[in-house]
């Protein structure tokens, strides 16, 4: 990734920018304009690329590096009985700790929590994305078209999105309290954060509340470009409302839908704040991100191994999704830019 950009960056400047615009008389006017633009573009883009490489590219490389070395605090006897010093190369020891803990390590160590955390993260992702897409589609369909007070509805729908997750989590923690309003309204006596299923359900409900508006807005933007006369002619042809939805709305809103799903999946896979504040990770709500933070201060290099695993996992999911859904997000974006 790093090498690629460095190769691409000068290419923009050198190949097209080497011919200074004024010196070449007027032989290639279009080429002249373009070469000047290439140099200018390289200069304009460089600060952003350098900043992102420094704060994103460098840490990724550094995390991989340190995950293969013994932690400073971790010096002691190795498995084979030799004294090991902090900073020494240990290969995939830390990866082994997370991935193959099952029969080796003591119950209660963080390594033991890896697969449960992975499972929790995947459950959260699948449940919230499905719920949010269905509800978001319903919201969008209801909001599509003209009616009185549209602005007000749009403002209302933005409120859950705008409130910080930390506040949302505390608010719902209060509402999900044993004596709280949720139990009161439902007439139940559930200890919401006290056992796995209710705790996980609570996280899923809260995330759905917070993020459905975002999905709805993306889908609404997709719906609004569908011309009304397509529906009209389908109606004339005798298509009922469900047929119109499946055969016109869904295919036409599909690009917006796929982009929304992709963003949401990648977003929930790194979920941290909501379960962390709601339960502190208790009762099977520990996600991969929470596990990294729990390990961070005990052994940073071990945490680096886990965060690298998490990163690779998210990357693979993104890759599979992009391939499977046939979305080319970059192309979609570039088309929008070229428009």
């Amino acid at each position: 990734m790093v090498a690629d950009t460095q190769a691409a960056e000068p290419a923009v400047g050198t190949e097209e920018g080497l011919k200074p615009a004024p010196s070449k008389g007027g032989d290639k006017p279009t080429r002249k304009v373009r070469s000047g633009e290439g140099l200018l573009a390289a200069r304009l883009i460089a600060p952003a690329i350098i900043l992102m490489l420094a704060v994103i590219g460098y840490p990724v490389v550094s995390a991989i590096w340190s995950s293969l070395h013994l932690d400073k605090n971790d010096s002691g006897l190795s498995a084979s009985g030799f004294f090991q010093k902090g900073g020494k190369w240990v290969g995939f020891k830390y990866y082994d700790y997370w991935l193959n803990c099952g029969n080796k390590c003591v119950v209660g160590t963080t390594g033991h929590d890896f697969y449960p955390a992975l499972q929790t993260t995947v459950i959260f992702t699948i449940a919230t994305v499905i719920l949010e897409v269905i509800l978001g589609m319903m919201f969008a369909l209801v909001m599509n078209g003209t009616f009185k007070g549209r602005g007000l509805v749009r403002a209302a729908i933005l409120v859950p999105w705008a409130i910080p997750t930390a506040v949302t989590a505390q608010l719902w923690k209060f509402m999900f309290d044993y004596q709280g309003i949720v139990n009161h309204v439902l007439g139940t006596h559930i200890l919401w954060t006290g056992s796995p299923t209710p705790a996980r359900s609570a996280v899923i409900i809260i995330d759905t509340w917070k993020t459905t508006p975002f999905i709805a807005l993306l889908l609404l933007a997709g719906l609004q470009v569908i011309p009304a006369d397509i529906y009209e002619s389908a109606r004339v042809d005798g298509a009922n409302a469900w047929q119109r939805f499946v055969q016109i709305t869904l295919p036409l809103v599909k690009p917006a839908l796929l982009v929304a799903v992709l963003f949401r999946v990648l977003d929930v896979l790194r979920i941290f704040d909501l379960p962390y504040i709601l339960t502190g990770g208790a009762n099977k709500t520990t996600t991969l991100s929470i596990l990294v933070v729990q390990e961070l201060k005990a052994s940073p290099n071990n945490a680096s191994a886990l965060s690298t695993i998490t990163f690779i996992f998210i990357f693979l999911v993104a890759f599979v999704l992009v391939k499977a859904m046939g979305v080319n997000v970059v192309q979609t974006q570039q088309r929008a830019v070229k428009k």
Binding site: T5, E9, A11, V12, G38, A41, L44, I45, A48, M52, V55, I56, Y58, P59, S62, A63, M138, F139, L141, V142, G145, G149, V153, R154, A155, A156, I157, L158, I163, P164, A166, V167, T168, Q170, L171, G180, W209, F214, L217, A228, Y231, A241, F263, L266, R270, D273, Y276, L288, V292, V293, L296, S304, S307, T310, A318, V330, Q333, A336, V337, K338
Partner: protein, 300 residues
């Protein structure tokens, strides 16, 4: 599935209904307004409850009366009581961190977005892909290396330890949103102004800038909101130092006089202080925020 079907059915037919019904109640319209009412209740009810409880006396924390009762301002004084929490300080910290991040991300973002929207150059596709990858990057993958790096630099518990990563995360958001805005600008006007004798500087200052201003403003709001709401880095990198920790961390770690009892009413009061300005911003600029969100397609 049946619920979805019936709901979408109603909605689709209303959007395409142009011929008015001859007689009777228009159930389509009734159904739509019922749906809208449901959406508003679902979105606003928890927020309403937070406001109600924020003004309720501590002794009535779990009172379930749906309208304001036992009204007091005590929760707000308790929230700002510096002997237990540093909520006021956290607000200032978040303002400082958010403003600096937004300013830098906007300046750098404007350069990049201008190049992406206006200039032809090789590797544009690649740059767009790189920025998109950065936008989707999981923050937790950076947490440990940044924690180690800032530990060795003695930066833990400083503003720059949060501002610098925030800039890198805010940049993709600002670049994508600005690029989408710039792509829709009527750039012919710049040329027209030059033909009419304006210098390039004048053309930019007098013609282009006023047209850009709404897009810049919207992007700035989105970036500021993203920084203001961030929690993962905010909970780790300040290392518990109250003089630096942002407001999300302060709210998540609120403690009361009795450590066993969660001071819900004060937390709700603090939540109201944090959320109400955001809700007002959203009310005022909802149209622009929505266009910015859907243009960028990147979650804030």
């Amino acid at each position: 599935m049946t619920a979805v079907a019936s709901n979408t059915t109603g909605a689709v037919s209303t959007t395409t209904e142009f011929t008015p019904r001859k007689s009777g109640i228009r159930w389509n319209v009734v159904g739509r307004y019922a749906g809208i009412a449901l959406i508003i209740v679902w979105c606003l009810l928890p927020f309403y409850w937070m406001v109600v409880v924020a003004f309720r006396q501590v002794g009535f924390t779990f009172d379930s009366t749906p309208w304001p009762t036992h009204v007091t301002m005590g929760n707000f004084t308790a929230a700002f009581d510096t002997s237990k929490n540093h909520f006021g300080r956290a607000l200032i910290n978040s303002l400082i961190i958010g403003s600096v991040t937004t300013a830098v991300a906007m300046v750098v973002g404007v350069f990049t977005a201008y190049a992406l929207a206006r200039l032809h150059f090789r590797g544009k596709f690649f740059v767009l892909g790189l920025i998109l990858a950065a936008a989707m990057f999981p923050g937790v993958a950076l947490l440990t290396p940044l924690f180690q790096l800032f530990t060795s630099l003695h930066w833990l518990g400083t503003y720059q330890a949060l501002i610098i990563p925030y800039i890198a995360f805010a940049l993709p958001l600002s670049i994508y949103t600005l690029t989408a805005f710039f792509a829709e600008m009527p750039w012919e006007l710049e040329q027209a102004a030059k033909v009419d004798g304006a210098t390039p500087g004048q053309a930019f200052r007098l013609v282009i800038f006023p047209l850009c201003a709404p897009g810049l403003f919207t992007t700035a709001i989105l970036v500021f909101l993203a920084c203001w709401n961030e929690f993962l880095l905010a909970s780790v990198l300040p290392n518990g130092k109250a003089s630096v920790a942002p407001v999300t961390y302060a709210i998540a770690s609120f403690t009361g006089s009795d450590p066993k009892v969660i001071p819900y009413t004060s937390i709700m009061a603090a939540g109201v202080v944090v959320a109400v300005p955001l809700v007002i911003v959203v009310l005022l600029f909802q149209r622009r925020i929505v266009s910015g969100l859907t243009a960028g397609g990147v979650k804030g």
